[in-house]
């Protein structure tokens, strides 16, 4: 009896894995803000900070080194 029960459990579970594994996870699972960041992507706000710090706002002015001489 034990053998039949656990044997069937193993076969049925493998069948479920083979079929359910190929189905995409539900939207509830995928469309979350707190998902694990597996790729180590940069967070958008950090990226914006970095970009912002490199940009000097205002009009450009031509500097002539020879003018002082």
């Amino acid at each position: 009896m034990n053998t039949i029960f656990f044997g069937l459990l193993a076969v049925l579970s493998l069948y479920i894995f083979m079929n359910l594994g190929k189905v995409r996870a539900s939207k509830k699972q995928m469309d979350r803000d707190d998902r694990i960041n597996w790729g180590g992507k940069r967070r958008r706000d950090v990226q914006q900070n970095r970009d912002g710090s490199k940009i000097i706002e205002g009009s450009a002015e031509e500097v002539d080194d020879g003018a002082k001489k």
Partner: protein
């Protein structure tokens, strides 16, 4: 070190191959991308190889030692040296670990008849039920969830490592192997943590397929799942043995 932190490391690496894989996915054509189908099929191939190895290990239990050592080395190579070559190393890993599992299971089965099938049934049962919970969104892996599972896994590995080192000096951490309430409780806890590692593997594979990682990551995802499944199987075997020896 757990495989998950290794994934983290190479995910954040400056290596141009990995940077391209994770951030510039549009450079891969549709056929070169990781898919859920591919990862599941490759897991099935690895499982078949593992069962083949287990058949050999069951019939020749002496294969258990070389199987365990070579399998362990192949796992380290796959995780730390060449995840992109997982297609070449993972099948051998599965076959050699299968040999080790076959030998170990043989000795447990001699002592407790019927334990092997119970452990196999429970392992696949946990796999299927957690996959359902993950796909349906009942279990939602978050960064905190990963932190909790990875730190618990590290703690367990450290406990086993200390126990292994102490065994050379004729002592050990007794309660790990005891069949008392504390020993069984610890085994239950370890089975729980090993099971939760499966959820991290599912999320990693789903995320990889979603982002369109390169094709070889299917092998890596399947390998990752196999490592967890093998660990889970061994822990369930130990738990059942403790329960039946009472």
């Amino acid at each position: 070190m757990s495989k998950h932190s290794a994934l983290n490391t190479f995910g954040r690496s400056g290596n141009p191959a990995f940077t391209r894989n994770f951030e510039n996915t549009e450079t891969f054509s549709q056929t070169e991308r990781m898919t859920l189908d591919g990862a599941v099929n490759k897991t099935a191939i690895l499982l078949a190889l593992c069962f083949g190895g287990a058949f050999a290990g069951w019939n020749v239990p002496a294969l258990m030692y070389p199987g365990a050592i070579i399998g362990f080395v192949l796992a380290l190579v796959t995780i730390f040296r060449s995840p992109s070559k997982a297609g070449a190393t993972a099948p051998f890993y599965a076959a050699f670990q299968g040999m080790a599992l076959g030998g170990i299971t043989f000795f447990y089965e001699m002592q407790f008849p019927g334990i092997a099938l119970q452990a196999i049934g429970l392992t696949f049962g946990i796999l299927a039920s957690l996959l359902f919970c993950y796909k349906s969104g009942l279990i939602k892996p978050t960064e905190n969830f990963r932190l909790m599972v990875v730190s618990a896994t590290m703690g367990i590995m450290l406990l086993y490592f200390v126990s292994f080192i102490m065994s050379f000096f004729g002592s050990g951490i007794g309660f790990i192997h005891s069949n008392g309430l504390f020993g069984i409780g610890l085994s239950l806890f370890i089975v729980g943590i090993a099971s939760l590692n499966l959820v991290l593997d599912f999320d990693y594979i789903e995320d990889g397929a979603d982002r369109g990682l390169p094709k070889y990551m299917e092998w890596y995802g399947a390998f990752s799942l196999m490592v967890t499944l093998i660990w889970l199987y061994l822990e369930i075997l130990r738990l059942l043995a403790k329960l039946r020896s009472r």
